[in-house]
């Protein structure tokens, strides 16, 4: 780690109407003004947020990541007509990525022969800001069950708040969680990786928080009873609990940002986390009418087992093309995501051929082979060779896989 990153509280001069409410409200006189701008004293503001709700414009709710020793000065703030762009303060040097994270990443991306380059229009990710030696501490601000009460799996939506610590993430990135305590050998538990399920500007827009989608592990891959240390720790967290977090990680499984870019997302179970983040990012920008399509293939045992089923059903049809596959609905044939991909072959072929379409696969290892075969079938039906198409997709950083 180099210099410490912090969030600096600022006021957006383009939106502020100079009503003086914030200055009036601030209990510790951290806000002042001249004839041009209202400004926040970095060394006085303690981030109590008392000024946030009374502001009629939202201008008060502005933050920038800065290195602690180099905040924006009052003179700089007074001179602004608009807020400065998000800068990129020095990032921690690579090399201290935990071994466990390197191993998990290698396994997860084995399907594409290791991580690819990110889409050309992806935002620049911060990685490895917090190490095992110096983890960030997040506070749980929510923990909700996503699956039906009678569902066989307990999948949870957990919201972590980083307070005043900078923890910038992009959709598709992961964070590491360090479960407290030691293992049977008396050693600290390994770090576990979780995909972020919220978009870059927070689970709640403008807040310094993020969401995770965590399934309580009660059996191993062979179906034998096994209690997952970290997933049970996370699923049992209560509001206000503190969690040690490292990362963020991931420089490849990132979404394109250019107008007109499309996403094809294929996932099962908690593999939906990055898809939810990307979808939510796009949903929040819907009004900008940037174009591009969203197509989702989502597999689960039954609707009640499918995380985010309710919210997904509420999304407009012209915003996202959703294709569910349920494998355990009584009285209905088993259907898997690969079946749905074949059924939608025409559109899938068109999107594979679209240079602005990016494809993301996330879920259990087992789904990879099936998805590959389905793509191969679709290609055959449309006079294409999947292996050639796949090579092209990889070369253009349009095909991203994370399986576990």
């Amino acid at each position: 780690m180099n210099a410490e990153l912090v969030r600096q509280h600022l006021i957006d001069p383009e939106i502020c109407i100079r009503c003086n409410t914030c200055q009036e409200t601030c209990p510790i006189d951290a806000i002042e003004h001249d004839a041009r701008n209202y400004v926040v004293k970095f060394d006085v503001c303690d981030g109590c947020n008392e000024c946030i709700p009374p502001c009629p414009t939202g201008a008060i709710d502005s933050w920038r990541k800065v290195t602690k020793s180099k905040p924006y000065t009052l003179a700089e703030q007074y001179a602004w007509d608009s807020l400065p762009a998000e800068t990129e303060p020095d990032v921690g040097a690579p090399g201290d990525v935990p071994e466990e994270v390197v191993r998990i990443t290698a396994e997860a991306t084995a399907g594409t022969g290791g991580p690819l380059a990110p889409p050309w229009s992806a935002a620049h990710p911060y990685v490895n800001l917090y190490s095992l030696a110096r983890p960030a501490v997040a506070t749980v601000s929510g923990n909700y069950r996503l699956t039906a009460e009678d569902a066989s799996s307990d999948i949870r939506h957990i919201v972590l708040d980083f307070g005043n610590s900078a923890f910038p993430v992009l959709e598709g990135q992961s964070i590491g969680v360090i479960p407290p305590g030691v293992d049977a050998n008396g050693k600290p538990h390994h770090v576990r990786l979780y995909s972020v399920a919220s978009p870059r500007n927070g689970e709640r827009p403008g807040y310094n928080n993020l969401a995770l989608t965590v399934k309580r592990v009660v059996e191993d891959h062979e179906g034998k009873a096994a209690r997952g240390v970290c997933s049970n720790y996370l699923c049992d967290l209560r509001k206000g609990d503190q969690v040690k977090v490292v990362g963020p990680y991931g420089t490849s499984f990132l979404m394109p940002n250019h107008p007109g870019s499309s996403l094809m997302m294929i996932c099962t179970g908690t593999g939906s986390a990055p898809m939810r983040a990307m979808t939510e990012r796009r949903r929040r920008r819907m009004a900008l009418k940037e174009g591009g399509e969203l197509m989702l293939f989502f597999g689960a045992r039954a609707p009640g087992e499918l995380p985010y089923f309710g919210p997904l059903m509420k999304l407009p049809k012209d915003f996202i093309d959703i294709n569910f596959a349920f494998s355990r609905v009584p009285g209905e044939p088993k259907r898997y995501v690969q079946d749905r991909i074949r059924e939608r072959g025409e559109k899938v072929a068109r999107m594979l051929a679209d240079p602005n379409c990016y494809i993301y696969v996330c879920g259990l290892k087992g789904m990879e082979a099936g998805v590959n075969e389905a793509f191969a079938d679709v290609c055959r039906a449309h006079g294409l060779d999947w292996s050639a198409v796949l090579a092209g997709l990889k070369a253009q950083a349009r095909f991203h896989v994370e399986t576990y």
């Binding site: 109407i17 100079r18 009503c19 009374p54 009629p56 414009t57």
Partner: protein, 475 residues
Amino acid sequence: MSSIDYSERIPNNVNLSSNKTLQRALEHWQPAYLKWWQEMGPEGSTSMDVYLRTAISVDPKGWAHFDYVRMPDYRWGIFLAPPEAGRKVNFGAHKGEPAWQEVPGEYRSVLRRIIVTQGDTEPASVEQQRHLGLTCPSLYDLRNIFQVNVEEGRHLWAMVYLLHAYFGRDGREEGEALLERRSGDADNPRILTAFNERTPDWLSFFMFTFITDRDGKYQLAALAESGFDPLSRTCRFMLTEEAHHLFVGESGVARIIQRTCDVMAAHKTDDPAKLRGLGVIDLPTIQKYLNFHFSVTSDLYGSEISSNAASFYTQGLKGRFEETKIGDDHVLDSAEYPVMEVVGDRIAVKHAPALNALNERLRDDWIRDVQSGVDRWNRIPEKAGIPFRFTLPHKGFHRKIGVFGEHHVSPDGRVVSEAEWTHHARDWLPTSTDRQYVHSLMGRVTEPGKFANWIAPPARGINNQPVDFEYVRFN
């Protein structure tokens, strides 16, 4: 003390239940108020759920509580800013005495008149704006006008509380009369002229909230300095709500300017006729609306030289803007203040006793504040590389009250003849053609995230919600 009791019929933080007489009087007034709201409040709004801000306490964390509220179920109540221990009368002849918790007998009628005049403007603006919901340019704007309306209604409650609590039977009668006058009514109009003008379209509404609600801010700020402590505390809490109204106005006009500049840049034209053909409001028309609202509102401050204003000050009833931050004797026996006068065909400046020029001083404070908003508007064409800049007309332009009332003054501050005025008035003030054009744009847009063609979307949503949030649900 600061939390608000919502379990009572009238939510309040003034411990209303401890004074049964007052509680009964207000509970008697409440149905009349609701009847007024049904008749004169926003038209066709009774079945809508609106994403509103409701005060649940008067501390910073509690007074901005957002949720859907069915409009007639909004909980209007009585909220005063927390008392300031040891507060004194800070100006005038009683300077240094402890602030009054009861009305001083000798100031009873004048104080009542001040409160009634302020209170009368609150329902008036609701009446002026009651049809605008039918032509809202977006759900976001519909929500904002409703927020303004319910808070104006609450400000009426604030003033009626003072009348009931401190002025006995006279006060109760005034409370009833406040519900009986009607904006623009020939027989029983509202007290102040500007509050009898029509607010026929959204450009007028935004100008009104930017300019006329800002007069409200300055009047409230002057009353917040009052030696009569309940009035001071009432106004201080009202001011926090008023800021939202100013925001709606300033950002509303800014969004109209933004949209026009976007279209000007896209079509490389500044021809008003072409721009009207493209369905946006040309900048010169916006300037004319600014001229109109600025001058009409300017009259609300009254005559430049006023003995009433002097006695309100000396009596400790109404102070100056930010009185306690001003570094002088706060008595003003010997101070002077520059005031304009018309000498022949020239405008000159003379020095008047500061005590008699308090209206003018408050007007000047207000003008400075309006000017800084106009400066912010001007950044929009500047950014787009468009040379047009908005300017405030001269103080004497289009005035009906005070030293300029008998004269014609051009926007650039020349005393002009009747003939020249008649010749140019249509370049300076909105004509019926201008108003008809603006009126012709008023349609109704209610799809979340969609905006009428003549206005740009806001930079941010309310309470950090997305711009396409469903701010109003129709049932």
